[in-house]
């Protein structure tokens, strides 16, 4: 009997959003990430909302499923900025994540603490943030991550090479057709130019059925029930692992309660486990269980976003590139100060969401960008960010750095 596993992986992240920080605030206050409670950029309020609509109800159900089905497993990635905000404003949500990992069947995946694109701008800064994240996960969850995912699943051969050398046993990427060609994402692969590491590629069709299309009444698959979904999986032909990767906030936040998303989640394990040989695995377990089918070569960067599956949602226009180049241009000066508060603010500004808010791809993919942005338009986001950047320069200047 061949074994088939659902590899469910959910990504938990919240950025520190920058308030409408103006030129009149530069050099006057340094609280870019604080706004009054009713503003769209207020991080406290958003964390409360997401905790109540998504984290708490979803974790309740996940814990129930873990208790009811010994085979049920999943993996999570939780950014440092999300953990910090839970510690501050939703400790019960953080506790509910700990309750999951305490079962021993929930694996935490490694990434950058600040959900940044540092890999593409500064290797040493990137490594620092990965280390910070590992320490935080050890401290909060008592685990040491063994599988790596980069921000936005931004992946290329270089990243796989780095992760291999860093000792990770697995790495996650988008199972994009241009990369896979005729091959199926439903197997374990080996990244090109690596020795030991294994590659798990997101089955974006099945994942997006849940994450994006679930509540869409115009979709032919609507309404999606657990038995229908499991039927699709069982009919998929040869496969070892179905990599269902998505934002955690799919549950309750992107797909609201009334769509039936929670019922779907509750029924999925029972339906899946009806068939002999079907099981669940964490990302590490999948990497250990299956031999790689082939080698996958990704010379250019692929991400899990938009129809382009590249970084154009973050770095596609010149506002975005000039903002990120300016920010990383301060690296030496910022780190040189040894001022931990200043360094930390600089890192918080590296979070990829800031650049996402500046995205001008308004059509097709643009609607989802607009939904996630706390700004009225990308220009407001850009101006607020650049003003915050200039305040970093002010703080550097005050410390005598040559800016």
């Amino acid at each position: 009997m061949s074994r088939k596993a659902i590899v469910l992986y959910l990504h938990v992240h919240q950025p520190y959003r920058v308030r409408q920080y103006t030129i009149f605030d530069i050099g006057v206050d340094h609280q870019y990430f604080e706004s009054s409670y009713d503003e769209r950029t207020n991080n406290h309020r958003i964390m409360r909302k997401v905790a109540e609509k998504s984290y708490l109800p979803t974790n309740n159900r996940l814990l129930e499923l873990l208790n009811r089905y010994p085979e049920f497993r999943l993996s999570l990635s939780i950014t440092g900025t999300a953990i910090e905000q839970m510690e501050a404003w939703a400790p019960e949500a953080l506790q509910s994540f700990k309750n999951l990992t305490d079962t021993g069947r929930v694996e935490i995946v490694a990434e950058t603490y600040h959900h940044s694109l540092a890999f593409f701008y500064s290797r040493s800064e990137f490594e620092q943030q990965v280390k910070m994240h590992e320490r935080k996960i050890q401290e909060v969850f008592g685990q040491t991550p063994k599988v790596f995912r980069n921000t936005e699943l931004a992946y290329n051969n270089d990243l796989a090479y780095w992760a291999d050398k860093a000792g990770y046993k697995g790495i996650l990427a988008e199972g994009w057709d241009k990369v896979l060609g005729w091959r199926s994402p439903n197997f374990v692969y080996r990244p090109a130019y690596t020795d030991n590491i294994r590659l798990l590629m997101k089955n974006y069709r099945l994942s997006d059925d849940i994450a994006f299309r679930f509540g869409d009444r115009n979709w032919v698959g609507w309404p999606l029930t657990a038995d229908k979904f499991v039927h699709w999986l069982n009919e998929s032909g040869e496969a070892t692992n179905f990599n269902l990767f998505m934002d955690y906030e799919t549950f309750g936040e992107h797909q609201w309660d009334h769509t039936g998303i929670f019922e779907f989640l509750e029924h999925l394990p029972a339906e899946w486990l009806k068939h002999e040989g079907n099981t669940f695995m964490t990302v590490s377990e999948a990497v250990d269980a299956f031999e790689p089918r082939d080698q996958v070569d990704v010379p250019y960067t692929v991400s899990w976003a938009d129809v382009e599956r590249d970084l154009s949602a973050w770095l596609g226009n010149s506002m975005q590139t000039s903002a990120i180049n300016a920010l990383y241009g301060l690296e030496g000066l910022i780190l040189g100060t040894g001022d931990l508060a200043l360094i930390e603010d600089w890192r918080k500004l590296q979070t990829s969401d800031h650049f996402y808010y500046m995205c001008t791809k308004w059509f097709n993919d643009g609607d989802i960008h607009a939904y996630f942005s706390p700004y009225e338009n990308p220009y407001d986001a850009f101006i607020a960010f650049m003003n915050a950047y200039n305040d970093l320069r002010f703080r550097l200047a005050e410390k005598g750095a040559s800016v």
Binding site: I23, F24, I26, G27, M319, S322, N390
Partner: protein, 403 residues
């Protein structure tokens, strides 16, 4: 006096000029009734009567397009009516038509095309002399070579021909009226605008652009423009020039104060040019934030493609900042001690800006000399000219100026 706006509800220089001219005229004994298209309190105005032509919240006029922007809906007399700018003009004309049935006055003085239809109706109904005062004409606003809206042009041409006297704010504007509308030159008087030291807000210690002021101590210099972000103002050329400036004098900031339909284009252009890190879009400002924008500058640049006058340049001098003005600006006729450049000559503009930001002696000398010129002029001179014009058309001693 027929006008479209007065401070503090003005969108730009038009309201300021009307206010100052009336103030100076009243000192000479003019009894002025100023007719606006909206209802609003003007507690600072004691030297004339300000009257709404009809009851309407000032916000509705602003929505319909303060002065020269585009249009939206308006609620009027409790009913909902959908008015664009031309609709607003029509309602104003009808209301002024009712007012002149009973009002007593000697002469009609109308400012800019927005009030021209009302002025023509008032003249037709009463036979009183009409002075049409052009602060700009359509060709200026459309960036000269494009000519502008033919309907607006027709209104301006008709008013200029029928008026008993035409006033232009500069020789440049007078020439434009002759060129565009074929109005006989001897019918047009040039009456310059001005800015009196008493019009300026007194300084009070720390500049609200704290960052720019602070960085000045580290050798940074700031180039300022205040104005609508619109094609007439020639700001793309300033951005192109500023790129060259930054290449030679990297410690230079550009502060743009104002709002307008070109904002997004300018933000994108600054990003494309790679200069966003030193360019600030401060938005539309009044009061201290406006005063301090002038004051924080080391050089004020007015790069307008076609600027009938350009009061902001005089205000800048008044606040202590030397000016670089395009030769296509009327204000260059009254200031000798300034830098002048063709609006299209980006290279020369860059050279001049660089010279000033790299040489404080040049900056200070330019300002000291221009400030002497500034002090030698006054709104009273402008009022003298207008009083003289009124006298030629009104026989008796007492002069009431209204609609």
């Amino acid at each position: 006096m027929l006008g479209w706006e007065l401070p503090p509800h003005n969108s730009g220089g038009l309201g300021v000029a009307c206010y100052q001219l009336c103030k100076a005229l009243s000192k000479k004994g003019a009894d002025i009734e100023f007719i606006l298209p909206y209802t609003a309190a003007h507690p600072d105005i004691t030297f004339m009567r300000v009257r709404p032509a009809h009851q309407q919240d000032v916000k509705e006029v602003i929505k319909a397009g303060t002065a020269y922007q585009s249009f939206k809906y308006v609620k009027h007399n409790g009913e909902v009516e959908y008015l664009d700018l031309h609709g607003q003009i029509r309602v104003y004309e009808e209301a002024v038509g009712k007012l002149v049935e009973w009002a007593e006055f000697d002469i009609i003085h109308a400012h800019d095309w927005l009030t021209c239809r009302a002025a023509l109706r008032a003249k037709m109904m009463t036979g009183k002399p009409l002075v049409v005062h052009f602060h700009s004409i359509e060709a200026d606003r459309a960036g000269r070579e494009f000519g502008g809206n033919p309907m607006v042009r027709d209104i301006e041409a008709l008013a200029a021909h029928i008026a008993d006297r035409v006033v232009a704010v500069s020789q440049l504007t007078k020439d434009a009226i002759v060129r565009e509308y074929g109005v006989p030159a001897d019918k047009i008087e040039v009456v310059y605008n001005h800015s009196d030291p008493t019009d300026l807000l007194p300084g009070d210690g720390e500049n609200v652009y704290r960052y720019l002021a602070y960085m000045k101590g580290l050798g940074y210099r700031t180039v300022v423009n205040v104005g609508r972000l619109t094609i007439q103002k020639g700001l793309p050329n300033l951005l192109h020039a500023f790129k060259e400036v930054l290449a030679r004098a990297p410690r230079t900031f550009l502060l743009l104060v104002g709002d307008g339909e070109q904002k997004i284009e300018l933000i994108n252009l600054a990003a494309d040019l790679g200069i966003s890190h030193n360019v600030f879009f401060a938005g539309f400002q009044r009061g201290k934030r406006l005063r301090d924008a002038f004051a924080v500058g080391d050089l004020f640049v007015l790069p307008s493609i076609s600027e009938p006058f350009g009061l902001v340049a005089l205000e800048a001098i008044g606040y202590g900042t030397p000016v670089l003005i395009s030769k296509q600006s009327g204000v260059s006729e009254v200031v000798r001690n300034c830098l002048k450049v063709d609006f299209w000559d980006v290279k020369r503009m860059a050279d001049m800006i660089t010279a000033v930001v790299q040489n404080d002696t040049l900056r200070d000398e330019l300002h000291a000399n221009s400030y002497r010129e500034y002090l030698n002029r006054s709104w009273d001179h402008s009022a003298d000219r207008l009083w003289d014009i009124y006298g030629r058309h009104v026989k008796h001693q007492h002069q009431g100026v209204a609609a």
